[in-house]
């Protein structure tokens, strides 16, 4: 397997926005930006694992923002990702309760050139909770919901993939699974609000 070829900013954004070529786009991001951004984390008290986690986090966030038309290209992708990485990593350091002189310096600095992306990563912990919650669904439930709502598979395709008796059984199962997840979310108003905020950008 090879990392994808470098894509221009506009080609990268278009691939993500269309949703058709998202995998090559992700690989291209790793090829072009992982080195620089992980270098930033490693040089600011982070470990290799931290650098990988932060990069993964910002790739997810960037894709969401592009798909919701929140990235309008006012800065280059590199600058935007760097800003996301910096805010995400500084928040993580804060969360870990480290007193770090550079952090103070950063907080006090007037930032004129980089986009302010701090508000975009404010709900990171809630988002991780959401992932955990979906992970608590049974495997069949999770798979059927992912196939339908993430991979946009039809009931017929899901039937072939999951070997249920017929499409109606798949439909009923999907209904029950979504209802189960809906109830789990309803019991957690904070997570529900985070998801509603995500829906509305």
């Amino acid at each position: 397997m090879e990392l994808s070829k470098t894509l221009s900013d506009s080609a990268l954004v278009e691939s993500i926005r269309s949703g058709q070529n998202i995998e090559p786009a992700i690989r291209s991001m790793y090829r072009d930006y992982f080195g620089t951004l992980s270098w930033y984390v490693l040089n600011n008290n982070g470990t290799q694992q931290d650098a990988e986690d932060i990069f993964q986090e910002i790739v997810v966030r960037f894709i969401e923002l592009v798909q919701k038309n929140k990235f309008r290209g006012e800065s280059t992708v590199k600058t935007f990702l760097f800003s996301l990485a910096r805010h995400t990593w500084l928040n993580e350091l804060k969360r870990r309760g480290r007193a770090w002189a550079r952090e103070e310096k950063f907080e006090n600095a007037q930032d004129h050139s980089a986009p302010d992306t701090s508000y975009l990563i404010a709900d990171r912990e809630a988002r991780l909770e959401i992932i955990k919650l979906v992970g608590e669904l049974g495997e069949n439930c999770r798979t059927i919901l992912l196939l339908y709502y993430y991979e946009n598979k039809s009931m017929k395709e899901i039937l072939q993939l999951m070997h249920y008796e017929n499409e109606q059984v798949v439909r009923n199962k999907k209904y029950k699974c979504l209802k189960q997840l809906e109830e789990m979310i309803r019991e957690r108003p904070f997570l529900k609000q985070t998801l509603i905020n995500l829906l509305h950008g």
């Binding site: 690989r27 080195g35 590199k78 600095a109 992912l146 209904y175 979504l178 209802k179």
Partner: protein, 253 residues
């Protein structure tokens, strides 16, 4: 329309999935306008769908992440045929090694930081401006006229990053790598703090050369290896494996 609880939920799910007929859709939307509980349930179902999409995206990125990390860290494996060729080659190469070894030893002992610096240093040329002299700073004018000492005298610490960069370059021209390092490091720090990337690639390359000239080989290697790992870096092509080997050799000596 089915008014039982399950019937309504089923209708909401079909609405969410875009499966209702136009008539069913209008009827449901009219009811949604006045039924707060129904609105709440629809909001929760939408939230559930969003949660699934969040999970899906994260899983997809995590999968690619694992593959990419494996690829990056995978040791180079040598296949059976290649191994046989290598074994054969080793016997042939053995006799050559002595000769190559002698040449390498000669190179190794004649290697010097100033030689490595000079072999890889190219004066930084400013692009031609269309607006004439009025558009360029005094520092830039001095740099263009190769008045390097003048450049270093003119720039206060608070000068813009381009001027700071020209100061660094001027110190390199004046064979003063220690002061060049100081100027370039200020640019790196400012970019780091601002999240910007003004002249970042240029600065990293020339900072690496300044470190070599100043015999700070560890710092130089860190930067050179970073540039080498980034195909999109402006100076990626300039940083050859040979250059990195030479700096390592200087460090060992």
């Amino acid at each position: 329309m089915d008014n039982s609880t399950q019937g309504m939920t089923d209708l909401l799910v079909r609405y969410l999935d875009g499966e209702l007929t136009e008539a069913e859709k209008q009827k449901l939307e009219a009811r949604l306008d006045v039924d707060v509980e129904l609105q709440e349930e629809l909001a929760s179902l939408r939230a559930a769908r969003e949660a699934v999409q969040q999970y899906g995206l994260r899983e997809q990125v995590a999968g690619i992440h694992r593959q990419v990390m494996q690829e990056m860290h995978k040791p180079q494996r040598v296949g059976g045929n290649i191994r046989r060729v290598i074994r054969f080659s080793i016997s042939v190469a053995a006799s050559i090694i002595l000769i190559v070894g002698a040449i390498l030893a000669l190179n190794f002992f004649s290697l010097s930081p100033s030689r490595v610096f000079t072999d890889n240093y190219l004066s930084y040329e400013l692009a031609t401006t269309r607006g004439g002299q009025a558009d360029v700073s005094a520092v830039e004018q001095a740099y263009r006229s190769k008045s390097y000492y003048e450049v270093t005298r003119r720039v206060p610490l608070a000068g813009n990053l381009k001027d700071q960069f020209l100061v660094g370059m001027s110190y390199l021209e004046l064979k003063n790598p220690a002061n060049a390092i100081e100027a370039f490091r200020r640019i790196v720090s400012t970019n780091e703090e601002d999240g910007g990337g003004i002249l970042q690639d240029e600065t990293e390359y020339y900072l690496a050369l300044a470190y070599i000239a100043n015999r700070d080989y560890d710092f130089a290697l860190e930067l050179l290896e970073k540039i080498k790992q980034e195909p999109a870096h402006t100076y990626h092509e300039r940083v050859s494996a040979k250059l990195i080997r030479q700096v390592k050799a200087l460090k060992w000596r």
